[in-house]
Amino acid sequence: MKDISFSMKSNEVVAILGINGAGKSTLIKCLNRILSPKSGDIHIRPHWSNLKETNLINISSLDLVEISKTMSYVPQNVATSFPMDVFDVVLLGRKPHLSWRISDEDRDKVSETLRYLNLEDFAFRKFNQISGGERQRVIIAKAIAQDPNLFLFDEPTSDLDLKNQIQIMKCIRKIIKDKNNSKSALIAIHDINIAAKYSDKILLLNNGSIMAYGPPSQVLTEENIAEVFGVKCSISSVDKHYIRVDVDDEI
């Protein structure tokens, strides 16, 4: 992958689309310093800081705690057999912000997030004893409790049922769109309709570089989709923000 460069504004949700192996996860992990690029550097100019426009920060110069205060990450899979209370898992999201004691505010922030994602009943269940979709939501709750400026989600809706898919995406959107904060989200996702419905911009990766970047209606054209994914589809506009992609490839 080479010469990827794009800009996100605050209060914006950006979806990354691309085929399997396109490098979506890799891109997200590089931003997060989970991976370091073999060659080359990654620079960011955070929209949430008040640095001058021209100032680029090299990711590898940042401290991990620093990064985790400003970015939170939901991985594609979390497998664990460690029996930890769901409440404590979400509380881990507060970790970058505390030095020693857990304050009541932290606890309340966690409780609030749990309620927000309808996880009240699971608060004192063990994380390794809940279902796949429940885990996914707990990890998302942890990411939200982390209160970052940039959310990095790798397939947040996989494993979620119909209703939870919608609710989670709505929650995320609501948090991002809150004008009091300058937050944004970068979401790697395969469900093209969810991407179209809930994101402001779409980053379409193809062959290791950006093929298109812009609002869904511009990026998700029949030609682009055919070129990237190799499927035929029809696109219909549902209302002015929202298009729907229907894959036509017959049974």
Binding site: P75, V110, S111, F124
Partner: protein, 384 residues
Amino acid sequence: MDSISLQHVEKGKYQLLIILGLAVFTLLSAVFALGLGSSSNLDMVTSWKIVISDTKKFFLNIDTVADNLWYNLTACISSSSCEDRSLLHGIEREGTNIQNAIIWDWRFPRILTAIVGGIALAVAGALMQGCLGNPLVSPLTLGVASGAALGAAFAIVLGFTILSIPELAIVANAFFFSLVVVTIIIQLGKIRSISAESYILVGIAITFICGAIVSTMQYFATDAQLSQLAHWSFGSLSRPSGGNVILMGLILASLLPTALKWSWDLNTLSMGGDEFAISTGVNPSKIRKNILIVSALMTSIVIAFTGLIGFVGLAAPHMSRLIVGNDFRKLIPCSGLFGAFLMIFADTLGRTLFAPIVIPVGVMLSIIGGPFFMYLLLRRGGHH
């Protein structure tokens, strides 16, 4: 506050209560142990009377105590033939000289060593098992023990010492070499990769290399040297003097808060592995390195004085886990207290059960701790 938060606070309080209870219990057993011994002219009541009266006098005459301490320090530095004064020198005492010596010079440092050693080894064990994610790790694996043995061998066989005070030469060597070996392991482990397994493998290799060097030295050692080496490595709580153990305690106390603070990071690491940790602001390689260094420090300061005591560091964390669960915020303090309690219990039983026959603390720990560990394991297994 939110009702869920309240529930969480409640849970936390309950856990704190357990920990406090364990602490009080450990303290009580220490006081009880202070009154037990094989001496025929010193029963438990007399012992406690002396302990209480001396403690009172210590605090009432704190200026005299300070004077004596000052005298010890200055005299020891200025002249080589430094004759330590007791801290209550010049104050009329309750017990006879022999009684005072037994209580304050034998039992007190011994019990204090049990507490400090138990806490240090068990906490180091919990930290290392956590950060390497391996239930077979103990503070004595990964080079600390073999480094200490190497240091002792250097001092005893080659006469190479880093400190020239004869009483402390072996101890200092053991301490210093175990840190050196651990540093080497950490450096080499990092070259290879930062994973836990990498540290373990490098640790195995270095342990064998140290073992080979010690064996080679033993070939050139005299009988006396061999016996000294064997005796050094054999675990016993009787070696450190009161001064030594207070020093050990201070070092331990300065390291414990860090150890407790790492419980968050260990929880994160155990929860989701390296990637999850990084995204939560925990640097796995840094944490592993720091934990290894601190546990090595804690362990080597203890075993340099006491020799090798294996049970506490390996089993106390597992036993605590079976009692209080996996959460490191509880696990670390509980392991420490549990380790201290086990050590006091085993050592006191060992020196009083068949007095004047002393059963070594390591043997006693296995005799008491082994079956108890088994009981805990199977109890849990029942309703699992």
